[in-house]
């Protein structure tokens, strides 16, 4: 049907956000009928580049050309007019759960092509939706509600929606991260079908093996810049990883000499329905153990499972040889565990409460008389001390946490557990969204905890962080621990290789 292959070019794309140059003069090129892998470490700018293509930003510089002609893409609508469709990783944000599959697939047509017409032709909606699904060899009943679909099926529905309108280039942003092996196979069949129809697929993924399976070309990005663009067959896995990394670490990590003691914390056979797969690990007293892995590898789920915050988690956790009962954070805290969660605004702090209330939340009993009555003076004293020692920037201990900056909120979330004086500290991406100065403070805090003989588990997808602060690390991929590494004897290439599911050849 479509004789000439379409060609998409992005030339010298630059975009800046307050405080960051997200992309600088990036060139990108993709062709119809081929799948193009786009890869880069976290923050390399691949999602930003694709958002520019999808018309999510209008303040970029550079130009986009389709089939040689310049395409003015500044809004999502314009992008769609040029046949550029994007399926984001969070499929739920794009679907309307209480409508049927057909309504979701035909959504754009219903919204944009109903000019002047008032009555819905339901038979036609279902017929058209069914035709699209059949063309893609997908068998989902069009009258089913989207809320009843599995994640993979939702993804299919979104892809079908893209195909229902004009689609020449389809961007898939980490489509396989939440999928099982079989579902991934199904998705790949679909991608191959699209390719044969002349659609250009741009495939963002952290999983190296699957990129080699499905893609013809690869573009590697780093720090908002293009590194290389080549045919994927000519770049071995090892080289991809090297290109993703590049720059070496800067000396922002505290100097520390560690002398780990006995094994203090141990977990055996932790399983959490599909997200964590038979994980065992141990931490010695005074040791900082890293949990490396890419976003979506299951680090957060593992941290929550260890802390008893997941109802479906199973396995055994021992603290100083004593078995802990999993299943409730309440018990975990009383046993001496502390978790600084990743989503701090949602899970870590009480934004409408004062800094003092936040800091004392985990050990409020210490600030009461007769076990019940709050002692404001004790609270005030302890929190003033903590504010000073952590360098939290707040007008007073009575200020609401809502008014603090991200880094200071994170310090509050950590300070809560410092007051609690736990034995095991689990940090989940503690420096996410925190500025450089506060990062340094947080590293020092973590190092300080280890120096006091605490066990520290440090989950992060920033490789430099894991290398800079830990003694030892576990690398996670797809819910499992792929490799245990000693920090002093490894490097970023090795960690990244294991966390992308690669193997040493």
């Amino acid at each position: 049907m479509n004789q000439q292959t379409s060609r998409l070019e992005m030339k010298k794309i630059s975009i800046a956000f307050p405080g960051v140059q997200a992309l600088s003069e990036v060139d990108f090129m993709a062709e119809g009928g081929r799948a193009h892998a786009l890869i880069g470490a976290n923050g390399a700018g691949k999602s930003t580049l694709m958002k520019v293509l999808a018309g999510a930003y209008d303040h970029y510089t550079g130009s986009i050309h389709i089939d040689g002609a310049e395409a003015a893409i500044r809004t999502p609508k314009e992008a769609k007019q040029y046949g550029i469709q994007i399926v984001y990783q969070e499929v739920d944000t794009a679907l309307i759960p209480n409508l049927t599959v057909a309504e979701n697939i035909m959504l754009e047509r219903t919204v944009h092509e109903m000019k002047g017409r008032q009555w819905m032709n339901w038979a036609d909606v279902h017929r058209s939706a069914k035709a699209v699904l059949e063309r893609m060899n997908i068998y989902i009943p069009t009258r089913k509600l989207v809320s009843e679909l599995s994640l993979a099926e939702k993804q299919m529905v979104l892809i079908a929606r893209s195909m229902a309108t004009k689609c020449r280039f389809l961007v898939l942003d980490e489509p396989t991260a939440p999928l099982s092996q079989m579902e991934t196979e199904q998705l790949f069949r679909l991608v191959r079908l699209l390719k044969s129809e002349g659609v250009g697929v741009i495939f963002i993924s952290h999983r190296l093996p699957e990129l080699y399976e499905i893609c013809e070309d690869i573009t590697i990005m780093r720090d908002g810049q293009l590194v290389i663009r080549e045919a994927i067959a000519s770049v071995p896995q090892q080289r991809v990883v090297e290109h993703m990394l590049g720059a070496k670490l800067d000396g922002q990590f505290p100097e520390r000499t560690s002398s780990p003691g006995e094994i203090c914390f141990e977990a055996r056979g932790i399983v959490d329905s599909g997200k964590v797969n038979d994980v065992s690990l141990n931490i010695r007293a005074g040791e900082i153990v890293g949990l490396a892995g890419l976003v979506g590898a299951g680090k957060t789920e593992l941290c929550r499972a260890l802390f008893g915050a997941s109802n479906s988690a199973k396995g055994e956790v021992y603290l100083r040889g004593r078995k802990l009962r999993l299943g409730s954070p309440h018990v975990a805290v009383r046993s001496g565990l502390a978790l600084v969660p990743e989503e701090r605004r949602r899970e870590g702090v009480f934004v409408d409460e004062s800094v003092a209330s936040n800091l004392t939340a985990a050990v409020l009993s210490r600030f009461t008389s007769w076990g019940t009555w709050l002692s404001r003076s004790k609270e005030k004293q302890a929190s003033a001390q903590m504010i000073a020692s952590l360098g939290i920037k707040t007008p007073s201990e009575g200020a609401k946490v809502r008014n603090l900056s991200g880094g200071n909120q994170q310090k509050v979330a950590i300070g809560k557990w410092l007051l609690a004086d736990a034995d095991v500290y689990i940090f989940d991406e503690p420096t996410k969204g925190v500025d450089v100065g506060a990062k340094r403070d947080i590293y020092e805090l973590v190092a300080g905890l280890a120096a006091q003989g605490k066990c520290v588990l440090y989950a992060s997808s920033e490789l430099s962080e894991i290398l800079g602060i830990t003694d030892r690390m576990y690398v996670m991929y797809d819910g499992e621990i792929r490799k245990e590494l000693t920090t002093s004897q490894t490097n970023e290439e090795e960690i990244l290789l294991y966390s992308t599911g690669g193997m040493v050849e």
Binding site: A309, H330, V333, R346, G348, V351, A361, L364, T368
Partner: protein, 331 residues
Amino acid sequence: MKTASTARGRGAGNIVEFLYRYGTLITIFILVAVFGTMTDSFLSGSNIINILRSISIVTIIATGLTVSLSVGGFDLSVGSAASLANAIVISMFVWHGQNMFVGIAVALAFCIVIGLINAFLVTSFNIQDMLMTLATMFVFQGVALTYTKGATISENMIMPNGDFATGLIPDAFSKLGQVPWIIILMLLVVIAVHVFLNYTKHGRYMYMIGGNPEAAKLSGIAVKKYRLIAYLLSALFAGIGGVILGARVMNAEVNAGAPYLMDAVAAAFIGFSVFGAGKPNAFGTFVGAVLIGILSNGLVMLSVPYYAMDIVKGSVLALALAITYYKRKHA
């Protein structure tokens, strides 16, 4: 131009801030001034006591509701709990000839059961509290109706077998529904809950659960336990309200507690804005009830027909909510 608009923005923010903190109190003072000048007897001591007496039952029920709101819940079944407590306490005297202690104890015991059922349902299933308690509201209302067989319970009522009921309501019990005890009880409840929510660690935990349940859980707070306690207290105070209602009217009418639900909700939500608390609080709830009481009383004195009363009440609630939520959004 730019500076002018930001300055104006800040000025507007200050006015909102001021209204947010003191709007409810100012409204009360304005109302008192208006009613005081327009009528002769509004500011008389007996009328003030009259107002306090009229709001006491609403306040007690609303205070219980406030506790359920503090954990982020919403107990819509308080009116039904009050009805049931009212029916049980009066029937204990009239039908079973029990003494005052037994009557009150049995009524409150049933309310604790209501609290347990509510707590079990809202913590076990992931259903919004308001929907779940909407369902239990009907259930408990039906239980109260079934228990009374849809009849009003009063001294000397005719029993189904044709006899007259012989039991008497104790005199001491009737005192609970009269001045000064009814007002004293109300103040005790408000003070007790205020102290509980603000000066004990349990209250602090409840507010934290209401503010961010996930963070509370991950801080090791026993979320389910405190939600259970909140619903128990909510039902218990509703029960106390129902018992006092019985003492005041000396009978148990069909669904006597139901009309108190909406006033209690209104009082509790107006209370959010008192002194800019921004969250459920016992003192604010009391002020909310006072505001509603003053409005009703003053409007009656101005001969506004009773059927137009709800228009004013609803408007005041809308205003209080508008200020609270506007502030939240623009904080």
